[in-house]
C-alpha cells in the first residue's frame, strides 16, 4: 500500500526512534510512505485550545496537500497528529458550512477525501503479513499495550476500535509472537502535555500506569504516542518512590516491537535512544543488543 505520510514535529524531534522504526518496518511490510510535501503543524495543544477555526484549518491544509499528491489515505504515526487530523476531517465532513469556510481559508482545492490512519490501525491490518515475516518472533515477551487517551477517542472520530475496550495493539503484539498482558490502565491519562508545566501530576499518573503494568507482569509497555512515550520514559526515574528499587520498565513504540520481530537490528529501530534501557526487550529478538543502550538518565 502507498500512503501519504505525515511525520509531524515529533518524528523529527523527541520521537526520532518512532519515525526511524516506522520507516524500518514499512519497507518489509510493503508500505510506501510518501511524505506530504510542505506539511505543517497539526495544531495539537496550542491551536485547538485557542481557536476552533485554526484547529480545523491547520490539519485541513495538510490533508489538502495529501489530496493534491493523489492520496486517499494518510498515515499520522503520532497519536496527537492523528487525533487532530482525523478530528478536523470529521468536523469538516459533518458541517457543510465549516467546510465552505475552510475551503475559502485554504484557497486551494480540498474535497476532504483523505482518510486518516494511525500506525496501530495499519499494523493491525497487516497482522498476517507481520506473522508471516516475523523471523525473530518475540516468544515469551510480555507486553502491556498502552493506548492512552488520543488513539481511540473520541469514538465518532477514530472508529477503528472499541473506545472502551480496544484490541488492535494486542493483535499486533500477538502477531509479533509476544504476549499481551491483561491490565487495566491501558486507556488512562499519562499527563499528556503537562510534562513540563505540571510535573507532579505527570509523575502521579505515570506511576499508576507503571505500577499496574508491573503488577500484570509486563516486560515492557508498548505505546503509539510520542507524548505517552516521553512521559513514561523520560519521567520514569522521577516516578520511582524514594528508596524503591524496582527494575526499570522499558517503554517502546509499537513499531519497534514489530521491527524486532521482523529481525531488524535494534539500532536501526532507534532502541538506543530511550532513557530507560530497552535491553529486556531487545534481548528477546534474534539480534542481541548491539548498540549500548543509554541507561536511565
Amino acid at each position: 500500500m502507498k500512503v501519504a505520510y505525515f511525520p509531524g514535529c515529533s518524528m523529527h524531534g523527541t520521537s526520532r526512534e518512532y519515525g526511524e522504526s516506522l520507516h524500518a518496518v514499512a519497507e518489509p511490510l510493503g508500505v510506501e510512505l510518501d511524505e506530504v510535501r510542505d506539511w505543517n503543524c497539526c495544531g495539537a495543544s496550542s491551536a485547538h485550545a485557542s481557536s476552533r477555526m485554526l484547529a480545523v484549518a491547520l490539519p485541513a491544509r495538510s490533508l489538502a496537500l495529501a489530496e493534491a499528491q493523489g492520496h486517499e489515505q494518510l498515515l499520522a504515526p503520532c497519536a496527537a497528529c492523528y487525533n487532530r487530523l482525523a478530528g478536523a476531517r470529521h468536523e469538516i465532513a459533518e458541517d457543510a458550512e465549516l467546510a465552505g469556510h475552510v475551503k475559502r481559508i485554504l484557497a486551494r482545492p480540498f474535497e476532504n477525501r483523505v482518510a486518516v490512519l494511525n500506525a496501530v490501525e495499519v499494523l493491525r491490518d497487516l497482522g498476517e503479513t507481520i506473522k508471516a515475516k516475523a523471523t525473530s518472533p518475540l516468544k515469551g515477551l510480555k507486553v502491556a499495550c498502552y493506548y492512552g487517551c488520543l488513539l481511540v477517542r473520541p469514538a465518532a472520530v477514530t472508529r477503528f476500535d472499541d473506545p472502551e475496550d480496544p484490541s488492535s495493539m494486542e493483535a499486533v503484539v500477538k502477531a509479533c509472537g509476544a504476549e499481551p498482558v491483561a491490565w487495566r490502565m491501558r486507556l488512562e491519562c499519562c499527563g499528556g502535555g503537562f510534562s513540563l508545566s505540571r510535573k507532579p501530576s505527570v509523575v502521579r499518573l505515570g506511576r499508576a500506569i507503571l505500577e499496574d503494568a508491573r503488577k500484570a507482569g509486563a516486560d515492557a509497555i508498548a505505546v503509539a504516542c510520542p507524548m505517552c512515550h516521553s512521559n513514561l520514559d523520560f519521567r520514569q526515574k522521577a516516578m520511582a518512590r524514594d528508596g524503591e528499587d524496582k527494575p526499570p520498565m522499558p517503554i517502546v513504540f509499537i513499531t519497534q516491537v514489530v521491527g524486532l520481530a521482523l529481525g531488524i537490528a535494534p539500532e536501526k529501530l532507534g532502541m538506543q535512544r530511550h532513557f530507560v534501557s530497552t535491553k529486556r526487550v531487545t534481548s528477546r529478538g534474534n539480534g542481541e543488543a548491539t548498540a549500548p543502550a543509554a541507561e536511565v538518565g
Binding site: A155, A156, E164, D165, R184
Partner: protein, 674 residues
C-alpha cells in the same frame, strides 16, 4: 350514455358561505352526461340522502357525484345510500369542496370556480367508473402462533378458548420461554413458574391446541384467511409417541457436564435432556453436537455409547430420526417470538455496531453475570436452589453491584432505545438479594429510574427507601478483578465525584433485542421490521397488534421491549383480532385492487419486483392443447392492498388499478385543464 347525478351540499354555511352552491349545480347541469344536478343544505342528513335515492330511481342515474366534504368523512355514507337505491356503490364518488375549497379560500368567485372544476373532474371520473363488487375470500378458521413464551401461550389459549384451532410452534424443546427462567416477577414478587406452569399444562391439554415444540417455521405462502405454512420438526432423537417422560435416559447419559441453556451456563445438563423439570412437553431431546454416540458416528467410528438406549424401557430413543416437514393451513398468524439479551462484549450475530462493553469483563470475570443469570441464581429451581452464590467460588457475595442500561440507551453502542423492564427487575434483584443475604450491600448504578406502570414506582421506591438498596446515579467506566473482589470504577453524577465500589458480584442489566433470525422470519411473513429487528406494528397507536400484512399479528417482546403484563395484554389483543377475523365465513375486501390484462402482459414481472405484498404471481396462458403459450403476471386480489405501484411501473400498461384507472385519471386532468 352516462346519466350522472350531481348533488351539491351547502354543509349548512360551511360550504355555502364561500361557494355559490347553486351556481355550481347549475354549471354542472350543463356538463354532457349529467342528467341531474341540485344543491341542498345538508346532503348527509336523512332528507339529503333521500333526495339522492329518489333521484337515482326517478332519473335512472348511472352514477353519482356528491360535491361536499372529504371522502374520508362521508364516502361510505353516500355509497351506502347509492347502493340502497340500486346503484353499484363504486359508481358513487365525492368531490371535496369543503376541506379542499370552501374552508381554505375566501374569495367567492375563485372558490366557486374551483368547486365547479372539482365537481366536473369527478363527473368525468364517474363516467368511467365500472361497477365493482366487493371481493370475498374464504377464511380457514385455524391460527398459527409462532413462539411459545408467555405471549404465545396466552394468544394460543385465548384463541383456542374462543373456539378456533391453534397450531403453536416453539423452536426450543419446551414452551415457557424466558418467563419460565425467572425467579419472582415484579412488582408483586409472585413466583414466575407458579403462575406460568399451569398455563403451560393447559396448552398441552387443550383439545384445540396442537403443540409443536422443537420446531421452526420453514416457509409461509398465501394470504389472510388462507396461509399455507411449512413447519420443520427438528429431529428430537426421541420418538414422541413412545416416550413417557420417565427421565431414565437423562439419568443414564454419562456426559453430564454440558452447560445448561436454561440455567444460562450456570448449571449443567446431560447430552440427552429435558431443559427443566416442568417442561412441556415433558420429552427429552438429544443434543446432536454433544452426544458421544452421534459424534463417533459422524467421524465414521463405531457406536461408542448406548447408555440411554439401554436405559429406555420403551425403545423410544431413535438416533435415525430426521427433520420432518409438515404443512399446516391456517387463516391467521400470531408472531410472538420474544427477545434475547444483548451479548456483552461479544459478537452480536454479525451486528458489528453492537459490539461493546468489553471493559466490564463479562465472560472473563466469572462473577460478572447478566440479569438472566441472576434470575437463575435466585430461582428456587435454579442451579444453586435459590441461594445467591458466586459462580467463581460458591461464596455468598457481601456486596453486589447492579448496572442498569448495559446496551440500552446508548447510540454509540447501536441501541438507542430503552429496554423498559430493567429498572424494574434490577429493583427486584436488589430486593431479592437483600432478603436472602442478611446485611448484604446492593449498589445500583442507574441513568434514570423509569418505573411507569401500576405499582411500579412504588416498587422501585420500596427498594430504595425500605429495602436499603443504594442507588447511585451514574455510569461505570471499568471493572477489573483485584484479588478476590471486583473493583467497580464509576462516577456519581449527583455527587459530582468518582464513585468506586469493591464488589463480590456484578450484575449487568443488558438490553433486550429481538430473537436471532427474526429478520428471516419477518421476510417469510412479508412483515416489516425496524432497524433493530423489532416487528413493525401497522399503526403505533391505533393498530398496535396488527402488522402491515393482513392476517399477521404481533404480540410481546418481538415488537418492542415488553414486560409480562404488556406481553399478555398484546397476546389477548391478537386473539381478539384473530377471533374477529374468524367470525366471518368469508372476508370482504374493497375491490380497489390491481388487475392484469393477460392479453397484453409481456411477462416482464417488473410488477412483481415492486409489489410490497408479494401479491403478483405467475400465471401460465395455455392453448387448447394445454401447451403453455406464455407466462404472465397475475394479481391475487386477496393479497393486493391496492397501492397501484405495479400500475405505474408496468411498461406495457397491462395492469390497471380498479377505481383508479389511467383512463379515469386522464379524464380528471382533462376535465380541469380542457
Amino acid at each position: 350514455m352516462a346519466r350522472i347525478g350531481v348533488f351539491v351540499c351547502h354543509c349548512g354555511e360551511n360550504i355555502g358561505r364561500t361557494v355559490d352552491c347553486h351556481a355550481v349545480a347549475e354549471a354542472l347541469g350543463q356538463v354532457p352526461g349529467v342528467a341531474h344536478a341540485v344543491d341542498y343544505k345538508y346532503m348527509c342528513s336523512d332528507p339529503g340522502q333521500q333526495l339522492i335515492k329518489a333521484a337515482i330511481a326517478e332519473k335512472q342515474l348511472t352514477g353519482v357525484v356528491v360535491a361536499a366534504c372529504s371522502p374520508h368523512m362521508h364516502e361510505k355514507t353516500f355509497r351506502r345510500a347509492a347502493s340502497s337505491a340500486g346503484l353499484n356503490p363504486f359508481t358513487c364518488e365525492m368531490a371535496n369542496v369543503r376541506e379542499h375549497c370552501s374552508w381554505i379560500h375566501e374569495d367567492r368567485a375563485s372558490a366557486t370556480a374551483k368547486a365547479i372544476d372539482l365537481s366536473r373532474m369527478m363527473v368525468e371520473k364517474v363516467k368511467r367508473n365500472v361497477p365493482l363488487s366487493t371481493i370475498r375470500i374464504p377464511v380457514t378458521r385455524r391460527a398459527l402462533v409462532i413462539g411459545g413464551g408467555i405471549a404465545g401461550i396466552q394468544a394460543a389459549l385465548d384463541i383456542a378458548d374462543g373456539g378456533a384451532e391453534v397450531v403453536l410452534v416453539e423452536k426450543a424443546p419446551s414452551i415457557g420461554g424466558h418467563m419460565s427462567q425467572l425467579s419472582e416477577t415484579f412488582p408483586t414478587l409472585d413466583c414466575s413458574q407458579c403462575i406460568l406452569t399451569p398455563r403451560m399444562v393447559e396448552v398441552y391439554q387443550h383439545p384445540r391446541i396442537r403443540l409443536m415444540s422443537w420446531s421452526e417455521v420453514e416457509s409461509v405462502e398465501g394470504y389472510i384467511g388462507n396461509f399455507k405454512v411449512t413447519i420443520r420438526k427438528k429431529a428430537r432423537g426421541v420418538d414422541e409417541d413412545k416416550c413417557n417422560g420417565c427421565g431414565a435416559c437423562t439419568r443414564a447419559c454419562p456426559n453430564k457436564r454440558i452447560p445448561s441453556e436454561f440455567d444460562c451456563g450456570l448449571g449443567k445438563r446431560p447430552a440427552i435432556y429435558v431443559p427443566f423439570p416442568q417442561a412441556v412437553p415433558n420429552l427429552p431431546v438429544v443434543d446432536r453436537a454433544r452426544c458421544t454416540l452421534l459424534i463417533a458416528r459422524s467421524k465414521g467410528k463405531k457406536d461408542a455409547c448406548m447408555k440411554c438406549v439401554e436405559a429406555c424401557q420403551r425403545g423410544a430413543i431413535d438416533f435415525e430420526q430426521k427433520d420432518r416437514f409438515v404443512t399446516e393451513e391456517v387463516g391467521a398468524i400470531v408472531v410472538a417470538t420474544g427477545y434475547q439479551l444483548y451479548e456483552i462484549g461479544r459478537d452480536q450475530g454479525g451486528r458489528k455496531d453492537l459490539h461493546g462493553y468489553g471493559e466490564y469483563g463479562y465472560g472473563t470475570i466469572p462473577d460478572v453475570i447478566d440479569g438472566m443469570q441472576f434470575e437463575r441464581l435466585a430461582s428456587a429451581s435454579g442451579p444453586t436452589a435459590g441461594r445467591i452464590l458466586r459462580p467463581s467460588d460458591g461464596r455468598e457475595p457481601r456486596t453486589i453491584v447492579f448496572l442498569q442500561c448495559v446496551g440500552s440507551r446508548d447510540p454509540a453502542k447501536g441501541i438507542e432505545y430503552c429496554s423498559k423492564i430493567c429498572c424494574m427487575y434490577v429493583a427486584k434483584h436488589a430486593m431479592l438479594y437483600r432478603h436472602k443475604e442478611n446485611g448484604g450491600r446492593a449498589v445500583v448504578f442507574y441513568m434514570d429510574i423509569r418505573a411507569a406502570g401500576k405499582g411500579y414506582d412504588e416498587f422501585t421506591r420500596r427498594a430504595i427507601e425500605e429495602e436499603g438498596a443504594e442507588y447511585v446515579r451514574g455510569r461505570v467506566s471499568r471493572m477489573y478483578r483485584d484479588g478476590d473482589v471486583i473493583k467497580v470504577v464509576g462516577f456519581d453524577t449527583l455527587g459530582g465525584e468518582p464513585f468506586g465500589v469493591d464488589a463480590d458480584m456484578v450484575v449487568l442489566a443488558t438490553a433486550m433485542r429481538p430473537q436471532p433470525g427474526i429478520e428471516s422470519l419477518a421476510q417469510k411473513l412479508s412483515v416489516s421490521y425496524d432497524r433493530h429487528g423489532f416487528i413493525n406494528e401497522a399503526h403505533p397507536k391505533l393498530r398496535p397488534v396488527e402488522t402491515n400484512t393482513a392476517g399477521v399479528f404481533v404480540a410481546g417482546a418481538c415488537q418492542a421491549p415488553r414486560d409480562i403484563p404488556d406481553s399478555v395484554s398484546m397476546a389477548s389483543a391478537t386473539a381478539s383480532k384473530v377471533l374477529g377475523l374468524f367470525s366471518n365465513e368469508m372476508l370482504e375486501r374493497e375491490p380497489t385492487v390491481a388487475r392484469v390484462d393477460a392479453a397484453i402482459c409481456a411477462g416482464c414481472f417488473h410488477c412483481e419486483r415492486v409489489c410490497p405484498y408479494g401479491a403478483v404471481t405467475h400465471m401460465e396462458v395455455k392453448d387448447r392443447q394445454g401447451n403453455v403459450l406464455k407466462v404472465v403476471a397475475d394479481v391475487n386480489p386477496g393479497v393486493c392492498q391496492g397501492c397501484g405501484t405495479c400500475v405505474a411501473t408496468c411498461p406495457s400498461k397491462s395492469v390497471e388499478l380498479q377505481g383508479f384507472t389511467d383512463e379515469q385519471v386522464w379524464a380528471q386532468i382533462q376535465a380541469f385543464l380542457g
